[in-house]
């Protein structure tokens, strides 16, 4: 199940260099993206099992011009924890695969 995630990114363009063209003034971009995040990695088309619906909310905030370096990601803590849990599961699965490969090597 795919859920719509509103991803708000506050972007302030870097100062123009000799090569880069002038970029627009600071602005907020409201991006709607459909994301399908799955446990265990792999491409969405090849993943096994059902999708894991993780993205249940998104933050839509009004922006303000920031004096700080330009890049930021507006993500709620809830979503951050969800992707963190997915990453941990991926790491554990990868460790299990690696151990399995090593154990198979013992049998050779």
């Amino acid at each position: 199940m795919k859920l719509l995630l509103w991803l708000v990114v506050l972007l302030v363009p870097p100062r123009p260099t000799d090569c880069l063209p002038l970029l627009p003034r600071p602005l907020l971009l409201h991006l709607g993206e459909e994301l399908s995040l799955r446990v265990g990695g792999g491409s969405p088309a090849s993943s096994k099992g059902g999708d894991r619906a993780l993205l249940q909310e998104g933050g839509v905030e009004k922006g303000k011009r920031s004096e700080e370096p330009p890049l930021s990601l507006d993500l709620t803590f809830h979503l951050l924890r969800e992707v963190l849990q997915m990453a941990r599961n991926e790491r554990l699965n990868q460790q299990a695969s690696s151990n399995r490969a090593i154990m198979d090597s013992f049998g050779k």
Binding site: L5, L7, V9, L10, L11, P14, T17, C19, L20, P21, L23, L29, L31, E33, L35, L37, G41, G42, S43, G59, E61, S66, E68, P69, L71, S72, L73, D74, L75, F77, L80, R81, V83, L84, M86, A87, R88, E90, R91, Q94, S98, N99, A101, I102, M103, S105, F106, K108
Partner: protein, 322 residues
């Protein structure tokens, strides 16, 4: 046989036996290798060829060593990936197969830390580098901007690609950090010991969950005397002391913007605990550099029913603490 001759013969026999004796050797027990240490050379070589690979997503969190490739199927104007390692590790990032058009506004920037809602972890006060040195911009210098190493167990990459089929590959590798400072916990439960040996710096252990924290051991450098100067009396808490531990709570990742809920200036041998019902709970060790400071603590996730009740009609925008 004379006594002198016997002594000489005895010494000669002793020298012979020492050459035949077993000598102690240093056993290199690399327990961290685990099963890997049991492999022979060919098997090790075969296992080293295996690198974890998968596509990188526009919004992603990476906690595994490996190679992640992003190829834009359409313009991707706001993408970022969080990278997280174990507390005692730092992160090495390397870009390769970069196919972007910097002149068209594409960029790939690596950040030494995390940025969330404009707040940075570690904060400016806790990180050793100035803010502009924490960013590595590939477009500024492809030669030097393709690699980055974090100062703590978190890092981040931002990228914008205007054209379809543009992309890059990111290699993530974790390196051991013997004295970790500024740690983002991977889990809502666990334990940790933070040690600052004669380092004048501030280190934070951040847990992005509401937790109960139990300080099990605290060893701080002590003041030369217990007399309080008039100036010190005006200061609240431990801020007048050289070295101390403070517990922070807040709803962001920047520790300088969080609320101090408790601080400890004296070494502790018992148990001190606190429930922090905030989105982010932090143990922060402030060190003057004059002593070896150590703090050990455990933490566990607070269930919904355990969250401290917020005060009604409270004007403070503060998460609950108990």
């Amino acid at each position: 046989m004379s006594v002198a001759l016997r002594a000489q013969l005895l010494l000669f026999l002793i020298s012979l036996s020492s050459r035949m004796g077993l000598s102690r050797y240093i056993q290199d027990i690399e327990s961290a290798d685990g099963l890997y240490s049991l492999l022979n050379l060919d098997q090790k070589r075969e296992s080293e060829d295996f690198i974890f690979r998968r596509p990188l997503r526009c919004l992603d969190m990476l906690a595994t060593d490996g190679s992640y490739t992003f190829v834009a199927s359409r313009p991707q104007l706001a993408c970022a990936a969080f990278i997280l390692a174990e507390p005692s590790e730092v992160i090495s990032l390397e870009l390769s197969d970069v196919n972007i058009d910097c002149s068209a506004g594409d960029f790939i920037k690596m950040f030494d830390g995390w940025v969330l809602k404009g707040e940075k972890f570690p904060s400016k006060q806790d990180h050793e580098l100035p803010l502009h040195q924490r960013y590595t911009d590939y477009c500024s210098s492809p030669a030097t901007g393709a690699t980055s190493r974090s100062s703590q167990n978190v890092a981040m990459i931002f990228f914008r690609l205007h054209s379809a089929d543009s992309g890059f590959t990111l290699a993530v590798k974790k390196l051991h950090n013997p004295f970790p400072c500024n740690i983002m916990s991977q889990s809502p439960e666990g334990s940790f010991t933070m040690v600052l040996p004669h380092q004048r710096r501030n280190c934070s252990f951040s847990i992005i969950y509401p937790v109960e924290i139990q300080l099990t051991d605290l060893s701080l450098g002590s003041a030369k005397s217990n007399e309080l100067s008039p100036k010190r009396q005006l200061l609240s808490g431990c801020s007048g002391s050289g070295d101390y531990v403070e517990l922070l709570g807040g709803n962001g990742v920047d520790t300088s913007l969080m609320f101090p809920v408790a601080d400890l200036c004296f070494s502790l041998s018992g148990l001190a605990q606190m429930k922090i019902g905030c989105d982010n709970s932090v143990v922060r060790l402030v060190s003057s550099g004059n002593y070896i400071n150590r703090v050990s603590f455990q933490y566990r996730l607070l269930e919904q029913r355990e969250l401290p009740k917020t005060q009604e009609n409270a004007l403070d925008n503060f998460c609950s603490v108990e």
